[in-house]
Symmetry: C2
Subunit: 295 residues, 2 copies
Amino acid sequence: MSEVFLATLQQSQSQLKHYLESELDAIAVNSVSLLAAMRHGLLLGGKRIRPHLIYSVGALTQTQSKLLNPVAAAIESIHAYSLIHDDLPAMDDDNLRRGQPTCHIAFDEASAILAGDALQSFAFEQLCTVDLPAAKNLDLIRCLSQAAGYRGMCGGQALDIEATDQHVTIEQLQAIHSAKTGALISAAVEMGAITAGIDNIEHRKALHQYGQSIGLAFQVQDDILDITSDTQTLGKPQGSDTDANKATYPALLGLENAKLKAQQLHQKALQALDELPYDCENLRSLADYVVNRTH
Amino acid sequence: MSEVFLATLQQSQSQLKHYLESELDAIAVNSVSLLAAMRHGLLLGGKRIRPHLIYSVGALTQTQSKLLNPVAAAIESIHAYSLIHDDLPAMDDDNLRRGQPTCHIAFDEASAILAGDALQSFAFEQLCTVDLPAAKNLDLIRCLSQAAGYRGMCGGQALDIEATDQHVTIEQLQAIHSAKTGALISAAVEMGAITAGIDNIEHRKALHQYGQSIGLAFQVQDDILDITSDTQTLGKPQGSDTDANKATYPALLGLENAKLKAQQLHQKALQALDELPYDCENLRSLADYVVNRTH
């Protein structure tokens, strides 16, 4: 992993953390415990890949941080809420996330449900504050609401649950993962482009291709790590997909072919970047990171 | 109850139902079961007070239905998602809603969680489609996201849970209800005004006063009905607040004083309408309905 990339990633993680903390601190106190549960879910850390995509695409045109921060906060809030709800007993029933107790363990189930709900509203509130012409804010909100909802993340999660214990084809698995994980990662790239003022249709197409490819690659690598890594490195129980009899790439293709699939998607992502007239070094490193990460 | 009002209410219920059905039908199929759970939560009926407020405020300036439909759909989607999540075992654990099995009973808990989540995204998607200048759409989204989130409905629900089995003052109870129920009803009035192009600041203030008053009156009447009505009329278990030892107006003030409180709020709502240069007959009837309804 390039040191330059890791430094950039760390810089954007830290930038987002400070922004989120200041935004949460500025909220007029209502329910203290709900705010604490939201904070737990949102500030627990994590790779912050989606915000990093926003910052990295924004950097292609030297977009100001004050424009990118609320967009990064919005996409991370959606991601954080989805993890809180996915971890619930009625869903994946996980006690551990990023090496810490999950929200319903640290608080209780009702608080975890409400914290997730409130984080989703918070995401759309954030997108209203981006200092752009209103039509652009609306583009951001349209993109995020579609990626988060029935056609995107929620729909993918439902398909994933339905596929448990079922035989699925590789096409079905791809459809599940494109919706479940791909939609939000792809939306991060698109929202970065909207905020960065990248309106050229060919450039947007190339970024879309990049987003789709790394989105799917991210999930393939997640499936691979669930088999090849260990609980301490992952910060969540290793082997939980296998235990739950989930449809995964290694289960369907075998481990070696799953690794090959990740590499192919990686190449596709890099090729897409060749179409762009910008310095894409950081986006290249991000694509490398997605398929080479160990947790 | 005036027959004219009931006919208008029925008309707007039917208009929203057709609009929602056509919107849900138009969604490209992803997870069939998730869509069915969303449909269950959204089309089960109910009073549709919040959409009716949108249509009634819109009618003050003869606003076109095609502008009002997605706004009404958005606020009802937020309300429907909140009911789905409130009914979950970890929250109020209710099996019956509007005389029908609740979402997690008709489907399962995971589907109910996801259906609620997807309905919240759907609400914001709908607000992107309103054919207004983008700045107005953004006003609508800002209003709804604030009313739905931490400072509004979710925060109020969390405060309500915290207040269970606790002694609360009448001021605390009012703060809980203003957030839990009042915020969304008040937002319906404001969103109606935004869509209707009512921009005069004095008129907006009067409508805000109306919204706040009927919002709180609605919750006081809900508390009263929980004691004075029966399960069949309510379509949900009578006495569930008392059973759960919830903070309510009758518990705090006594039944007669709670009724008096509802009448005072009713008067305040009517007085606010006197400030408006529009024919407010329907909004008056709606205020009457809120405090005179039997379920």
